[in-house]
Symmetry: C2
Subunit: 350 residues, 2 copies
């Protein structure tokens, strides 16, 4: 008897910010896994800013989602049928099964969930792609040194949480940037950041710069860049010589004329930025974590125990029900989430 | 009897492009060297784009030249009096003696000219600061690989000449960008570049991009950035994944509202640039060669013999007479020089 399933497909390409009309909720049936494939019932779906890029028809590091295709997304779920001896029915696994209640993927595109260290949903956040992104960018590209100043954008998001707490563990002075007093309080009181600047309380780039300058009396040595926009522009004027900027995202630009394919209104800040890179001898290093999965085992071995014993904390923002994924996604792009955005697609019946 | 000398001082801070009124030619007397100092008669004065930055009263990697002070500049000259046993009268030395016929400096700020490999003026160009800048940026930060595509701006300038010829020696496919058909012909026929794009023949960024795309069928792996402006903007769209951009200059921006302190007219290209850095996982690395003088010996040992035996060629653009330095400098900022800009201040009487 076929298994009924639900999925959310891309209905149209957004102009600027996505709307409900860009998504469509469909009912269909799960196909059986072929040889070397596994079929999974999804428990949790991860919602991440990069998905905004997949909705555009623009050249990027990954191909766009086709109109009518299931929205792309990482999930954690339980194997319900298998054509591979790598996984047994009942195993908890992580893969890009998309915005859907069920899915089938080749077994070699699936990995075991990191449940030795934390509950299943953590494999999408603190121990999944975002946490791994934060760890790799800070430790490999940020070249952090004890006593240096680290500024982290989207401080209470899943990448920012990891970066800031790792920075503290390495003896850095850590300043977060987050939207709203609650998030800033959480960053300082729960995550242990030294300071946190509320970007909603800063009227413009100049105000942001003044606030950051106060928070960073010794300047900024590492800026972990996953935001862009006002924060980036303010930070650049405060970077110390030989500063490092690992670039893994730019959520502030995602809705800008189709992911930056159109140009923003002036003035043109490029010459000023380029001058700062030269004069302060900065190293700006873009990276996409998909290129570095061979390091995931190193990450898990180092960070898994820190999560298990509470040295690294994490906060999730869980929405119930696949049908609510578009609304949760749109809210996240506006910064309305508080912690890692996850959709609980099913109760774990195991 | 005091030695009469001449010097050119900064008379005023330029608004945009410098004019003759920003310089003043003065007659004065050379002071005697104190203990551990040397007095030098200058033979050649180097003119370089960075000097434009020193004319502004803006925060930079070096302090500005004061109004009324001698214009800063590297020189090669002959020691005429010494208070140091590190140099003897008659030695040919290099130092920042400025836009002047004579000067005095502490001996520890002076080095021997590289005359084992080439005539004295070469110590200001191919074997001096610009050549060293090109070598360091390409080999240390550009991480060049055989078969990759290298694009070099200001290809017939002293940095570009070095970068392109080193790239060819390393087995790269090398495309220069230069202003005018003569310079492009020189880059290909004399320096051995594979191609050279005439930026004066390209009406705008889009035309430049089309020309570069034709010249670089496999995309661009390393862009040696010493220009900025239209070339930079065109190159960014053609960079290959994991591309490297060592940034050592940006002559196109130097006259822009006081070295980029004011913002350029829109559109704002910063979001697009930032997106490219992320999506193509680029490494953009600013550097100032003054931070790396400890590597000068390595440079000279490697490149000196290549210059001596003609594997690396160089072209100089020599102007006679200190009084003509301002005009030569202004012409250089407009790209009217052809090769390393040098002023012959005196005949070598030795």
């Amino acid at each position: 008897m076929p298994t009924p399933m639900e999925r959310i497909v891309l209905a149209g390409r957004p102009q600027g910010s996505p709307t409900e009309a860009d998504f469509r909720h469909e009912h269909t049936e799960l196909r059986d896994p072929a040889e070397k494939e596994v079929a999974v019932e999804t428990l949790y779906l991860s919602l991440d800013p990069y998905m905004r890029g997949r909705m555009d028809d623009a050249k990027s590091y990954a191909k766009p989602v086709d109109i009518g295709a299931t929205m792309e997304g990482g999930t954690v779920g339980r194997v319900i049928a298998t054509g591979s001896d790598r996984f047994a029915v009942g195993d908890l696994v992580v893969g890009q099964f998309g915005w859907a209640t069920h899915g089938v993927l080749p077994a070699n595109q699936v990995r075991k969930a990191a449940t030795d260290y934390a509950p299943p949903s953590a494999s999408l956040g603190v121990l999944g792609m975002p946490g791994f992104t934060g760890w790799y960018g800070l430790t490999e590209l940020g070249r952090p040194k004890k006593g240096e100043t680290l500024v982290v954008g989207a401080a209470t998001g899943p990448v920012g949480q990891m970066v800031g707490q790792l920075g503290k563990a390495l003896g850095m002075y850590v300043v977060g940037v987050a939207g709203g007093a609650d998030k800033c309080r959480f960053a300082v009181e729960e995550l242990g950041f030294d300071m946190c600047v509320d970007h909603r309380a800063q009227a413009d780039t100049q105000a942001m710069r003044v606030a950051l300058a106060e928070a960073c009396p010794d300047g900024i040595d590492v800026y972990y860049e996953n935001v862009g926009g006002k924060v980036l522009e303010a930070v650049m004027g405060l970077m110390n010589p030989f500063g490092r900027i690992p670039v893994c995202g730019m959520v502030a630009y995602y809705n800008l004329g189709g992911l930056g394919m159109g140009d923003a209104p002036g003035p043109n800040l490029l010459p000023r930025m380029w001058r700062t890179i030269l004069v302060n001898k900065l190293n700006v290093h873009g990276f996409i974590i998909m290129d570095h999965w061979e390091r995931y085992g190193d990450f898990l071995a180092e960070v898994g125990p820190m999560v298990k014993d509470g040295r690294i904390k994490y906060r999730e923002d869980i929405t119930e029900g696949l049908a609510n994924a578009p609304a949760a996604f749109m809210a996240m792009l506006k910064g309305e989430n508080f912690g890692k955005t996850v959709v609980q697609v099913a109760e774990d019946a195991a």
